[in-house]
């Protein structure tokens, strides 16, 4: 058992170092153009459901990612988001807004600021109406060419469209498709907000693409108003900005803090040692003699 004990100690060492060096950064307010400049991710999946992290862990991850708020948008159910929103009210930290990714075979639609489920078993126009009826905002999720449900009527009703999304890391074609959708949307609705989202499920990529908002303050109402009025800029994983040129210029001057990693060396050490320790606990044990007890 000495081997397994040594492995356990290694695991505890890894977790201990990881815990001791995991300092959550403080956020300070940034202002631009008379507004508070906020970092946000409006497309985050949580547990229980199709995400890996519980509400409180997601908030810590949001702080590490350097954002002020996120929307918990699980597929076709707002319960996880409502729970996360409730948890966020219990302590200081990033704001959480309940949402849902309304997911049909024809379209994916992010509903932010809702309190009841929006059915996916209806055309996009009806789903957007249902979101607006609850006081929420509707954002087209990764609207690449495989999404067939986007009529001009539906696009004109949207509050925002994802123009920066991890899909663009797959290739230039995906980036061009998202930009083309956004441009089409801007022609139909000049206030359409440019949204950058991570669509994070079970990867360490929260806010890898993000939205910069020009909001009155850090509250759900002010955030939703900023989206409705198109006061946003999307930022992709390479730091490229998308949105109205005037806002892009402002954001470029005063870009909020990105993801921070205070102790990358210790973090990698704890990952390596933790994995090694865990593997040891899994694989190592006692020697045995054939047919009898322990050697």
């Amino acid at each position: 058992m000495a081997w397994r004990m040594a492995a356990s100690l290694l695991l505890v060492l890894g977790a201990g170092v990881g815990t001791a060096t995991d300092t959550l950064p403080k956020r300070s307010a940034t202002y631009a153009g008379g507004y508070r400049l906020l970092g946000a991710d409006f497309h985050v999946h949580g547990f229980p459901g199709d995400g890996g992290l519980a509400a409180w862990s997601m908030r810590d991850e949001a702080r590490r990612a350097g954002i002020d708020l996120f929307a918990n948008t699980n597929h076709n159910q707002p319960l996880t988001g409502l729970f996360a929103q409730w948890v966020s009210g219990l302590s200081e930290g990033p704001l959480v807004i309940a949402g849902e990714e309304v997911t049909s075979a024809e379209y994916h639609l992010i509903a932010v600021g809702i309190h009841a489920r929006v059915s996916s078993d209806q055309p996009a126009v009806r789903a957007i109406e249902a979101i607006h009826a609850q006081g929420g905002v509707a954002i087209a999720a990764h609207p690449v060419s495989s999404s067939r449900g986007w009529t001009d009527e539906a696009i004109a009703m949207l509050d925002g469209a994802e123009v920066a999304h991890p899909l663009i890391e797959q290739g230039e074609r995906q980036r061009q498709e998202l930009m083309a959708f956004y441009e089409r949307g801007r022609r139909l609705n000049p206030n359409l907000a440019a949204i950058g989202s991570s669509d994070v499920h079970t990867t360490p990529t929260m806010a890898r693409c993000r939205t910069l908002l020009f909001a009155r303050d850090l509250s759900a109402g002010a955030v939703l108003d900023a989206i409705r009025e198109g006061r946003t800029v999307a930022m992709d994983y390479q730091g490229r900005l998308y949105g109205p040129p005037a806002l892009v210029g402002l954001a470029a001057q005063q870009r909020p803090v990105a993801r921070t990693d205070a102790h990358p060396g210790y973090r990698r050490f704890s990952l390596g040692v933790g994995l090694l320790g865990g593997l040891g606990v899994l694989l190592l044990g006692r020697r045995r003699e054939m047919g009898s007890g322990v050697i």
Partner: protein, 217 residues
């Protein structure tokens, strides 16, 4: 292995596995029939503790890897939270195992010990989980296609181990073991599909895969 030309080699490997400081889970994964027979014959002094420890091991492992996958870090808080969240996986295993055990009146050990040994078969899936976890930390991407395809390996491996479990621990015939494994796999997959449908719905799952593979549905 009796009668097989590979029998001496198998015997040598088994002796080596016994002599090395390996966990029983590794030995079970490599030599399920023989190892389950040894474990069945072995006295257990603290059966409750043995069962709790055996069930806690895969839970700890899942929590560790979830922590790595989703945050690229290992902290006590995230690992404990992940263990709490994903404990339903172990509960599902316990429930399906309990049903399997109850279906075999000729089992050779107590119900509790049988459940304990049922949890000894987790190694294939535990090892497989390393792949997406390390991949996520390394690239920030899940590579779902590779994850799904590679899951065939632990699936087949686990069925082989579970077959040895049914025949050795539960005392079933070969046909009885096959029947139980079909039912067990059916239950596990039904629960998994139910969770996927809750998590994303059919449209969510197919849409996600379509985007990953660049397919227009």
């Amino acid at each position: 292995m009796t009668g097989s030309p590979l029998a001496p080699l198998g015997q040598r490997l088994f002796r080596s596995a016994m002599a090395l400081p390996l966990s029983d889970e590794v030995r079970v994964a490599l030599f399920p029939g023989r190892m389950f027979a040894i474990l069945c014959a072995e006295p257990v002094h603290w059966p409750r503790r043995a069962l709790a420890m055996r069930a806690a091991l895969p839970l700890l492992w899942i929590a560790l890897l979830v922590s790595m996958m989703v945050t690229a870090r290992v902290t006590l808080g995230i690992v404990l939270t992940a263990a709490l969240c994903w404990s339903f996986v172990v509960l599902v295993q316990a429930m399906t195992g309990a049903v399997l055990i109850a279906s075999a009146p000729g089992r050779r050990v107590t119900r509790r010990r049988a459940l304990d040994l049922w949890f000894a078969a987790h190694l294939p899936y535990s090892l497989w989980l390393i792949v997406p976890a390390v991949w996520c930390v390394w690239t920030g991407d899940l590579a779902p296609g590779a994850v799904v395809l590679s899951a065939v390996v632990p699936l087949v491996w686990t069925v082989w181990i579970a077959s040895g479990y049914c025949r050795t621990v539960l005392g079933t015939t070969r046909a009885g073991a096959s029947l139980r494994l079909v039912v067990h796999q059916g239950c596990v997959w039904a629960i998994m599909i139910a969770y996927l449908l809750f998590a994303g719905g059919l449209a969510g799952v197919t849409g996600y895969l379509a985007r990953q593979f660049g397919v227009t549905l």
